[in-house]
Amino acid sequence: AQSVAQPEDQVNVAEGNPLTVKCTYSVSGNPYLFWYVQYPNRGLQFLLKYITGDNLVKGSYGFEAEFNKSQTSFHLKKPSALVSDSALYFCAVRDYGTGGFKTIFGAGTRLFVKA
């Protein structure tokens, strides 16, 4: 069965510094991986996805993610954090067992960016 883990409940970073939010996954077969962001009182918003091809995927709001097959990781990164990036971030993997429609979400990592 597919699974995804986000080892950090919270990440703190100063504005202007690079940020990394970690994610590891377990899949049988090729992984389809996603990052979503949730702002207060809002639903999750899609940031980026990895399907195939380049290991570095670029997404919305200057975020990117690095796929590492040997380490089964898909870490979210941004070169320079903004206070407005403070939010809850979810890593997700597609579950093949249900015909590809079901998505398994991690527990989420809360990002705090301090001015």
Partner: protein
């Protein structure tokens, strides 16, 4: 931008009352998901539909919860009778799954409080 619309945004009611939450998926999307989010459990998948047919409702308490899609523009989640432990934010998401690589689009949720 097309959006998933959920109503009501907030609902406060007493234990034992029936609660109905509604979702209008993005026009043309063929898959609809219902999630529940709490601090303790995180994001839980309750049920999902493809082309209006239920594919999986294993995450839903069957004795009190029911989910339906009476037509392509409306999905409903009902709780009867409601209990205080049902207090949570309920999200609807939709997607066009012609393949496994498409993200889900979330509504902004219904915040439910059962007194």
């Amino acid at each position: 931008d097309a959006r998933v619309t959920q109503t009501p945004r907030h609902k406060v009611t007493e234990m034992g009352q029936e609660v109905t939450m509604r979702c209008q998926p993005i026009l043309g999307h063929n898959t609809v998901f219902w999630y529940r989010q709490t601090m303790m459990q995180g994001l839980e998948l309750l049920a999902y539909f493809r082309n209006r047919a239920p594919l999986d409702d294993s995450g839903m308490p069957k004795d009190r919860f029911s989910a339906e899609m009476p037509d392509a523009t409306l999905a409903t989640l009902k709780i009867q009778p409601s209990e205080p432990r049902d207090s949570a934010v309920y999200f609807c998401a939709s997607g066009l799954f012609s393949g496994e690589d498409q993200p889900q689009h979330f509504g902004d949720g219904t915040r439910l409080s059962i007194l």
